[in-house]
């Protein structure tokens, strides 16, 4: 049993009156909705080069509520999330603070960060099409998802999932709510099974013959094909070909994973240092390699598996505009009964 385990059990056992969370010097506390396993290599590298110990807690839902209710006593320095909407939410709930950093501003394109410095995109993922390998299909528009020729052939996760509401919000940004409702009704009519499961299930279900095409995130292709998920997932990854779809008058829909500095961060200077580290060449490379995401920094390279998917042409609509439509998108999902 290592010291951490002993520490954990001791303070759990004797804990009711002690606060083990109180931080000593040179520590940094991260609340993240992103699984710590994915960012751990980055944090380890940061600790190694700066000596700052990084504590994390993986929260899924309720990160904003937790920081908000903890208020001035919150130990959180950095808040990390995997969807632009969640980052905007954090800023709107007033739990972030503006950061002015020349390093961050230079490294991150302006459409991938908040204008006032409340949040910063650190990596990107695209919402792409998985298609059965033998399908005669070379390019695809998101609009085609509603084409009746795909009836009973489309797989997708729950429409209410943030990855999908972001895509639908982008559709609203292009065509308005009324058109989007029509399109969603069409997509719903094309579903091969109930909307649900995860993105990888799209590939698995194509292999299983349930559907021909699926909408899913780009990095799963890397996770499956690289063998990191085990030999079964390699089979799923090999069963599909990946097409970067575009809007007819735009590009491929991307979302970001990003971070913000908490409003009451006890270690603000360290927090900014970590964010700046995360956009360094070294860290952007780890992002690309560890999780197969697109780096945000110009010139940083994607992983070869991802680079092989073809050139990413990012959609023209700015993230903030897309995010502003996401509640509308969520309402439409209910209205057309997408998940029913």
């Amino acid at each position: 049993m290592n010291t951490h385990a002993i520490a954990a059990s001791t303070f759990l056992a004797a804990s009711l009156f002690l606060d083990a969370g109180a931080a000593a010097a040179a520590e940094l506390n991260i609340y993240t909705t992103r699984e710590p396993g994915l960012i751990q290599p980055l944090l380890d590298a940061f600790t190694k080069s700066t000596g700052t110990k990084v504590n994390t807690v993986f929260l899924k839902d309720g990160l904003a509520e937790r920081v908000a209710t903890e208020g001035a006593s919150s130990p959180a320095d950095i808040l990390m999330a995997v969807d632009a909407g969640s980052l905007v939410d954090l800023a709107e709930k007033g739990v972030t603070q503006p950061i002015e950093s020349a390093v961050l501003n230079a490294a991150i394109p302006s459409q991938l960060r908040d204008g006032k410095g409340h949040w910063f995109g650190l990596s990107m993922r695209a919402r792409v099409l998985y298609a059965a390998k033998d399908l005669d299909l070379a390019s695809f528009n998101y609009e085609d998802l509603a084409d009746p020729k795909w009836k009973g052939k489309v797989c997708i996760r729950a429409g209410q999932h943030p990855y999908n509401t972001a895509l639908f919000a982008d559709y609203i940004a292009h065509y308005g709510a009324a058109e989007t409702e029509k399109w969603l009704t069409g997509v719903k009519a094309n579903l091969a099974r109930k909307a649900g499961g995860g993105d990888r299930d799209g590939a698995k279900d194509i292999l299983g013959g349930i559907c021909d095409i699926a909408i899913a995130n780009s990095y799963y292709v890397g996770l499956m094909r690289s063998g990191k998920g085990g030999p079964d997932q390699v089979k799923w990854g090999e069963a599909i070909k990946v097409i970067l779809p575009t809007f007819k008058n735009g590009g491929t829909q991307v979302n970001i994973s990003g971070a913000a500095v908490a409003k009451n961060a006890p270690n603000k200077a360290e927090a900014v240092k970590l964010l700046e580290y995360l956009v360094s060449d070294e860290a952007q490379k780890i992002y690309a390699e560890a999780n197969y995401e697109y780096p945000v920094k110009a010139g940083a390279k994607s992983d070869p598996i991802i680079a092989a998917l073809g050139e990413l042409k990012i959609d023209s609509k700015p993230l903030t505009e897309i995010v502003s439509h996401r509640k509308e998108a969520s309402t439409l999902v209910d209205k057309v009964g997408f998940d029913n």
Binding site: K60, G209, K228
Partner: protein, 557 residues
Amino acid sequence: MSILLPHIPAIGWPTRRTGARWLFCASVVAVLVALPFGGLLVQAIQGSPGLWVHLISSILPVALADTLVLLCGVGIVTTAIGTAMAWLVTAHAFPGRRIVEWALLLPLAVPTYIIAYAYLDILHPIGPVQGAVRWILGYSSPRQFRLPDVRSMTGCILLLGFVLYPYVYIPVRAMFLTQSANLVDAARMLGVPRRAIFWNVALPLARPAVAVGVSLALMETLNDVGAAEFLGVRTLTVSIYTTWITRSDLPGAAQIALSLLLIVVVLVALERWARRRQRYSGDARRHRELEPRPVRGLRGAALLILCLIPILIGFAAPAFYLIVEASKRVRYAGLSPRLVDEAVSTISLATIATAVTVLFGVVIAYTNRLRPGAVSSWSYRLATMGYAAPGTVVAIGVLIVLATADRLVDQTAIDWFGISTGLLFIGSGAALIYAYATRFLAISAGSIDAGLARIPVSLDQASRSLGQSPTGTLRHVHLPLSKAAITAAGLLVFVDCVKELPATLLLRPLNIETFATHLYGEAARGTYEEASIAALAILLIGMVPVILLSRIGRSGH
């Protein structure tokens, strides 16, 4: 015997001062565990009524219908399996009965989110079952032949039914064993055919036990988000979730959650009202077990196979699947050292929480016996509300209460002494203990109350007239006599704490992972193999109390 409403024993001589301290303690416990709902109420009031327009027009029709169908389905499946199995093992002696009698409890160790995830894989077109079917029928590709998708309402009802039936099996079996022995014997002597004994004697007698069991199973169903979401069933609980997360409308989510809670409370009251004219009385002093009839040969084997089906579907198949997946992972990537830390966190959190929850349960149940009346019965009701609300909702309520308390303590300490205490409750893990106690007090108070009810009131009277105080009576009379019930309560709470996910996820301190949160993280990432190790660990930890529970069940009679 209802979990949500207490027994009302008539001790008959409470003076105004008797047990005043107990009454006070019980009220404190009740207020403590009801506080999170107060927090939610405050949230709900801040919401705008505009949400309901959207809810009524596009969410409620489907979500309500789906929830009702799911509840009815799970209710029917758990009643059928739980009652049938209980009757088979209590009224018949067939080879292997002793083993299936306790093995039927094993599905308790399987959380609903794990069963959904396991069966999605087992029954997937590229999984083992369909592969075998295709091989037998001579098809080479899933594109030529597929079975219906498990991601459906039917799939969800069956899967939940097969892990939740023990909630019915446990009380009904206990009822068959003790309460109905005399009447069944009388019926047998009068020459009533076997089948008629079940339908006309045993089943009507078991009705309160079925009601208790089914209400627990249905509350577990209402609490489930993981399985329903995985299988594409849109229940009200899932709607609460999307309202909160996707539309970031916590007040709205709180409004739906409280309405749901209201529905549950009304349903429980209705069930109680429907049974108001029926009287069931048992005599705890005469422990006479129902004598099973021997069934041998082919018929005996058939009964054994019948009993093995729920064990196979609810436990053995998913457990075997997890063992295969976990061993693949271990061979592929080795065992992660994190697992040791997680085992320590999981077990210590669950142990402390169990101790607290059982203590609270004793306070609530004993006060109810000592000082029956409006205060103690309301304490009981309030204290057991947490079980009826979805875990996510309880977690948010606890967060609101404790984070506020943390902030106040910290600010006061800074103002008065100039030192920061940090997050006293959340930082120490106390928040989690509080959440578990709030969530599972119904189980502990309910079983302890049932245990106490078996002790004749005359013993209290004897002890008290010999000069023992209420506390002394509890220590020397009730605790020894209801040891089995208290241990059973503790074991059930422990299993539930190990399985609990939403509150654990939201309220843990920095750097602490449990098996459940690890599993969730891996599943969220889609690295299922890694998740299978954590899932298997939850199953193994959960099995220990289940096995102990079965031993109590046996020695108790």
